[in-house]
């Protein structure tokens, strides 16, 4: 990593700003803010209520301790009892109180008089400080003048970014399967996605280069895209994670074609390592220390970014709670300033309660405590992923193979067919009358398993049936008591993709062990019936 002295400042990327972003003026009231710093200045100017009238004396919370979740699985505890012990067992949890008073005893402490007042759009000082320290240590941006800015969650973050960079009618690059809310944000403005195929590492660099070098403006009806929206870790919905060599290739292409990379990374800390089948799973009796664990995480685009062309979206939704509605951008100062202007005339600042509780939590835990918490979470998600796949192995006949073609080249693929078998063994052998129902590549990060359905094996299948079969099967599953995500929602370009392909996205983030098991059982029954008789 280059030393600080060698790092450059961000280059000038202001030509990427949309007309709307350029047209934003500083709100005249905020413009007066430059006068407010003068010592001894009396103000009768702003309409800020006095904190005396805030009807709050304090807020407090019972917070878990950073070590709440173990970082190693040990052979002696069955994964069931160990994972699920927290259910209904709140009295066994260790908590510590955090309190935020209205006025603080010591200068510099988090207090409600500040947190609940206007003006925290750039973040409560204590929260900003933690975030900046965190970003510097974990993501290690590759240019010198990076900055952070709080936002109210990544959907809002992307929504602000897309309008700051794109004009109506423009196209932006994305993976060919992606997060529907991101598409929903841009769609009403006529800002449309162009999908790039993926493989075992995520977005393919050769396909990206081809797309850009062969872009025909008149055929496409718009200029070549200058913005990329990507979810490189625990990609939503496919679950794929991109490593450094591919990120480097893509970054270099983006430098060449002058593209801004918007890195949406909510699952960064839910990196779990590869799935290993149950019977091969050795116990990791010794815990992995935090520094090693951090080092094992696939680095962010930000680390490779020497020009300041990456806008990173971080959120506390998956690491603290979705209801916190809190996250932050990491980007170059010019873009941060325009994003701040966009926020000023809309959501203004994230909620003072959330900012103060989370600031207090993080400053109590400190960097090391938060990292320990994150490590514990990643193990929780690993156990959940393993449990779901293990349950599928019990209900289906799962066969492992090495993918050879298309997006699965180089991946370990698990293929599921009906099981008349008595045991849960997975095997290389393929009985000739075992027609697969679905297949998947286990994710190494995130919350989802992306199932590719083999509808060509449905009784009476005809080419072109995939769409209707996907929805029919989805409905049958819903009626049987299991909800899953239909693949079509995640299709970037709303077109037919392959033949005989339907997809489903299943999440292991929420359900309990009993529920996951129950879902697998229902899934097996419904699929068996459906493939024999889809009506």
């Amino acid at each position: 990593m280059s030393s600080f002295e060698k790092q450059q400042k961000a280059i000038d990327l202001s030509h990427h700003l949309s007309k709307v972003a350029l047209a934003r003026e500083t709100s005249p009231l905020k413009g007066l803010a430059r006068y407010f710093g003068r010592p001894g200045l009396i103000t009768l100017a702003g309409g800020t209520p006095s904190p005396d009238y805030f009807p709050f004396a304090a807020i407090s919370g019972d917070a878990l301790v950073p070590e709440s979740f173990a970082v190693s699985t040990s052979h002696s505890e069955s994964s069931l009892s160990w994972l699920w012990k927290l259910f209904g067992g709140s009295s066994k949890e260790k908590t510590s109180p955090i309190t935020i008073p209205k006025f603080s005893e010591h200068a510099g402490d988090v207090n409600l008089a500040t947190a609940l007042q206007y003006g925290t759009a750039t973040g409560l000082p204590q929260l900003s400080k933690f975030i900046n320290d965190f970003v510097g240590k974990i993501y290690q941006p590759g240019y010198s003048d990076w900055t952070t800015l709080v936002q109210t969650g990544n959907t809002d973050g992307w929504s602000r970014v897309v309008l700051t960079l794109c004009n109506p009618g423009e196209a932006f690059i994305t993976e060919d399967w992606t997060y529907p809310s991101a598409l929903a944000s841009s769609q009403p403005y006529g800002i449309h996605p162009v999908g790039v195929p993926m493989d075992s590492e995520g977005m393919r660099s050769d396909a990206l280069r081809k797309l850009l070098s062969e872009w025909d403006e008149s055929a496409r009806g718009c200029k070549r895209p200058h913005v990329m929206y990507t979810i490189p870790v625990g990609q939503n919905p496919t679950g794929v994670t991109m490593n450094v060599p591919r990120k480097k290739e893509i970054y270099d292409i983006c430098v060449e074609y002058d593209i801004i990379i918007v890195e949406d990374d909510p699952y960064y800390f839910l990196q779990m390592g590869s799935y290993v089948p149950k019977f091969e799973r050795a116990s990791q009796a010794s815990s992995v220390d935090s520094a090693k664990w951090l080092g094992s995480l696939s680095p962010s685009y930000v680390k490779l970014d020497y020009q300041g062309r990456v806008i990173r979206l971080d959120t506390f939704s998956k690491t603290i709670a979705p209801g916190a509605r809190l996250g932050f951008f990491t980007c170059n100062p010019r873009i941060a300033e325009r994003l701040e202007r966009a926020g000023e005339t809309s959501s203004q600042a994230p909620c003072g309660f959330g900012q103060s509780l989370i600031a207090q939590l993080l400053t109590t835990w400190q960097f090391e405590g938060y990292v320990r918490w994150l490590q514990g979470l990643s193990v929780q998600y690993k156990v959940r992923r393993d449990f779901l796949i293990d349950s599928l192995a019990e209900e289906f006949h799962l066969r492992m193979s090495l993918g050879t073609a298309g997006s699965r080249a180089g991946c370990i693929v698990y293929t599921a067919s009906g099981r008349p078998r008595r045991d849960a063994e997975m095997t290389e052998k393929f009985a000739s009358n075992d027609k697969p129902y679905f297949s998947f590549v286990p994710p190494s990060a995130g919350m989802f398993i992306w199932l590719k359905m083999h509808f060509e094996n449905v009784q009476g299948f005809r080419a072109g049936d995939e769409d209707t079969l996907e929805m029919k099967l989805w409905t049958k599953l819903a009626e049987a008591g299991v909800l899953i995500g239909p693949g079509r929602y995640f299709n970037a370009e709303d077109e037919d993709l392959g033949t005989a392909e339907g997809h489903f996205r299943i999440s292991f983030s929420f359900a309990s062990d009993t529920e996951l098991k129950k879902a697998a059982v229902i899934f097996a029954k419904v699929l068996r019936d459906f493939f024999e008789n889809p009506q």
């Binding site: 100017a45 009238y53 709140s90 929504s159």
Partner: protein, 484 residues
């Protein structure tokens, strides 16, 4: 009470029309249908993985006769009440629900409490509430819902610039409507619409209005004016965005020592809305705390659906902490309940009346009845360098007649040099379009006002007004300013 079935869908912007509902949210709704449904559909973390188990709010007690006064005077030992949301104790909105992803309108329990609040004060016909992140957010969403690039929106001639700034980058322009001490003049509104020149563009179809404690003039519209304005909106087919953050801060006459607890609140435009053309935006910012970033929009079901759709692909529902607070506060065990909330706001109103009285004692002027601000008229024509012949001199029939704008800029700078920040009218003025608007009386000639707040401390008010008095004296004596 039935809402007249008036079709207002033509008011939607292209953007709103093009927006499709977020399919992931549709799935989320389904998870609520069957009791034992297992959902593997959405990427929601399980609540056992949230690092917070309980949030407790220690708030002012509303058992006192005058809760705000007791709260202020009591300081650290003021009577307080506590309520909490947790994952294990009984409460109105359990933490695991409050901190989870939910629907764009807000959690049903939180939506229910603001609906009850709205019904209590406004008895609207058949409207639905959508939670928002404060009024700036609520209004910005309404602008996007209704505004097309090239549209003209109507507003008071002097308006809160942070709001009027918002849609400019969308390509929306403003047309100012003249005001007097009683706020927007209905006849002037009608004049603008009736005389609209189609060559200019589509006739305005949206009216943005702050009916109580208008910012910056402090005026409040009488019931008669509200009815006239609503009737004009019906005739000219306008949508009304009613921005009402100072609703509860309406005072009796300045000569009254205080505002009685029992003085009723004014009737909102929402309460008059039979057509479903009012989008009312409420906020907790001025009556509880601005950092709560929580408010709500009340509208017909039709616009509610579109607002939810937009919310679902932008900010999402508001934060769980705020929803948890208002639900516990208004319906939880140990909460304030509606009666307690009502006592709080009436008490707050009385308190602000007292502050305004204090301010006015220091400053003898006729002022407007409500809000947090005093709109001070400066008798600029008495300034030695005042001129009223600029139009003749420049021979431009649309130019301002006077040099009020330049003189007021000087006054503002003088105040700053003397250590006082006060808002000049120029910040709030919507400028006219010389080509189309009535330029007989351009707003530049009427900028001789300053906006001052009485929301600050007594010390600040005293010092500030002393400086103001001194500065005005120096200004009118046209004393040489010390060189910078």
């Amino acid at each position: 009470m039935d809402v007249t079935q008036v079709d207002l869908s033509h008011h939607l912007s292209s953007e709103a029309r093009m927006r499709k509902p977020n399919p992931m949210k549709a799935i989320w709704k389904l998870t609520r249908r069957k009791p034992d449904m297992v959902s593997l559909a959405n990427g929601d973390p399980h609540f056992s993985l949230y690092p917070i188990r309980r949030v407790e709010f220690e708030m002012a007690s509303v058992d006192e006769l005058d809760p705000v006064a007791s709260w202020r005077k009591g300081g650290r030992t003021a009577p307080a009440t506590k309520f909490a949301s947790s994952t294990y104790d009984p409460c109105a909105l359990p933490l695991q629900t409050a901190l989870q992803y939910s629907h764009g309108a807000g959690l049903p329990d939180a939506q229910r409490v603001v609906t009850e609040l709205t019904n209590f004060y406004h008895s609207p016909r058949d409207h639905v509430c959508t939670l928002a992140l404060g009024n700036s957010d609520g209004i910005a969403k309404c602008f996007r819902l209704l505004g097309e690039p090239g549209d003209f929106f109507l507003a008071d001639e002097f308006s809160f610039s942070s709001i009027t700034n918002a849609p400019l980058s969308q390509g929306i322009k403003w047309v100012g409507v003249k005001m007097d001490d009683g706020g927007m003049i209905p006849e002037e509104l009608e004049k603008v619409l009736a005389n609209w020149n189609p060559a200019r563009g589509r006739r305005p179809h949206v009216l943005y209005i702050v009916p109580c404690g208008q910012n910056p003039t402090g005026s409040t519209l009488s019931l008669e004016r509200r009815k006239l304005i609503y009737e004009i909106a019906q005739r000219f087919d306008l949508m009304i965005i009613e921005d009402d953050p100072y609703y509860y801060l309406q005072y009796d006459e300045p000569s009254a020592p205080t505002t009685s607890f029992s003085t009723p609140f004014a009737r909102s435009l929402l309460s008059l809305d039979t057509d479903g053309r009012v989008l009312r935006v409420d906020s907790f910012s001025k009556i509880m705390a601005p950092g709560m970033r929580l408010g709500w929009i009340t509208s017909s079901a039709f616009f509610h659906e579109h607002l939810v759709s937009y919310t679902d692909s932008s900010t999402h529902h508001p934060h769980g902490f705020g929803q948890m607070l208002i639900t516990e506060m208004l319906s939880g065990p140990g909460g304030w309940r509606l009666e307690g909330f009502d006592r709080w706001v009436r008490s707050l109103r009385t308190e602000y009346h007292r502050r305004r009285a204090f301010f006015l004692e220091l400053f003898e002027r006729e002022v407007s009845p409500t809000g947090m601000f005093v709109w001070i008229q400066v008798e600029i024509e008495k300034h030695p360098r005042y001129r009223a012949d600029l139009r003749l001199e420049s021979r431009d029939p649309t130019a301002p007649r006077t040099n009020v704008a330049a003189l007021m800029d000087e006054l503002f700078e003088r105040c700053l040099d003397n250590g006082l920040v006060i808002m000049p009218a120029s910040i709030f003025a919507l400028t006219a379009d010389a080509k189309y608007d009535d330029v007989e009386d351009p707003v530049e000639d009427r900028l001789n006002y300053l906006r001052a707040t009485f929301a600050g401390t007594e010390d600040a008010m005293e010092q500030g007004l002393t400086i103001l008095g001194q500065t005005l004296r120096e200004f009118f004596a046209d004393e040489k300013q010390p060189s910078a």
